[in-house]
Symmetry: C2
Subunit: 245 residues, 2 copies
């Protein structure tokens, strides 16, 4: 199959900007493109409001991109389907809840519902976490085939630790993470599975580590697992196969 060069390059630039907002020359350098070409592509994206440029020449992701992430297809996307359940879960456990899907070996946060009491209410929307780094990834990989896991582990620095995490996740049905992703932040993740039992997304509860003392969180675990089960069920009950999102 043949791909369109300028479109691929534009997406690279968008990703670079998302990674870190910068000016023309730095972006050209990062994308390994001539300055002129970069300027033309950036100007096009700016014209479309996909990027915005401030008066210092720094490019940032613009509103067009944000509005692409709309709820146009409520009812068929996992995100829209899970959202009300997530709100309910937040109400039950009084901590923030997130939802991530795996893409190319990383987990992308596609939805987040905060607890009003959240001490540090950070906004992880769109953030990519390594699958190998902690709870979210372990919970997912625990439901995957050995070969899939091996492929991801190929070349990782500490495969033993990851395998232990996966084994623990498989045994417990959930996967804890204490400060693995962010200092002082703990999370419990559970997989949302398709009708073959394969994890297609991870639902997780998170908050400051001090609010998750060992042993005092069985209720949270229980509710998380129950909600993941309900979301899985709702997802698999849809009529017609559609793609995860």
């Amino acid at each position: 199959m043949t791909t369109v060069q300028s479109v691929v390059r534009s997406m690279t630039l968008l990703e670079q900007v998302a990674h870190r907002p910068r000016g023309l020359v730095e972006l050209a350098d990062a994308a390994k493109l001539p300055t002129t070409t970069t300027a033309r592509l950036l100007a096009t994206l700016e014209d479309l409001h996909a990027l915005r440029r401030d008066d210092e020449g720094i490019y940032r992701i613009g509103p067009t991109i944000i509005s692409l992430v709309s709820t146009g297809d409520v009812g068929s996307s996992l995100r829209a389907l899970a959202h009300p359940h997530m709100v309910e879960l937040v109400g039950a456990v009084d901590e923030a809840v997130g939802l991530s899907i795996p893409v190319d070996g990383v987990a992308v946060t596609i939805a987040q519902v905060d607890a009003p009491r959240a001490v540090k209410a950070e906004d992880w929307y769109g953030t990519r976490w390594s699958l190998l780094g902690g709870g979210t990834g372990y919970a997912l990989m625990a439901t995957w085939s050995q070969s899939e896991v091996d492929e991801l582990l190929d070349g990782s620095s500490d495969p033993g630790r990851v395998r232990d995490g996966i084994a623990a996740a498989r045994a417990a049905g959930v996967s804890w993470s204490h400060g693995d992703y962010v200092d002082e932040l703990s999370s419990v993740a559970a997989a949302i599975v398709d009708d073959s039992g394969r994890g297609i997304a991870a639902l997780y509860v998170y908050g400051p580590s001090y609010r998750f003392p060992d042993g005092a969180t069985h209720e949270t675990e229980r509710r998380l697992v129950e909600m993941a089960r309900r979301i899985s069920h709702a997802w698999n009950a849809r009529t017609g196969r559609t793609v995860v999102q």
Copy 2:
């Protein structure tokens, strides 16, 4: 300035998909492009995970787009700056809170924090609302110049009603909307302003109309206005001018 055709076309297709997920032919038709060209562009976007296609051939927005909306530049974007304040406001008023910015005559929701109790917790992230349709738009336009408002009103069906709404918003400092956008849903909006007093975004509290009886909501109004003021202040206190987002 010259723009890159294929990039513009790709963005059109992305917007069409966001508007309503569809198959190749329908998208080609909607974008007024030859099928072949559309197929090539869609394949490119799919390859980049900007789009996903299910086994029925329906294209949907993919995870790459979602991860573009990241928080890479925490501290300089309005969204990241406002987020913790929004969480606090949710805690105070016990209703959902949203944040929108104006783009090309519409308001795009760039952040949302739900109240755990939300009866129907819908996900408006990325949704575009008309500025002329209700509270959000009135709150913003109340801070804009007459000529800017006139430009937007040019060709609108009921300019008188909008002008009344703007006048009310200017007088009250907030703008109410009861069922204007969505049935049974009420909202109060207040503008977040730059250092010249011009509205750059709208902060709003919303929930089922029955929870907003007239006269029992002064406390909500007060807290909303106070929070909008604080966010405005934080925004204008930043060092270095940056663009709204």
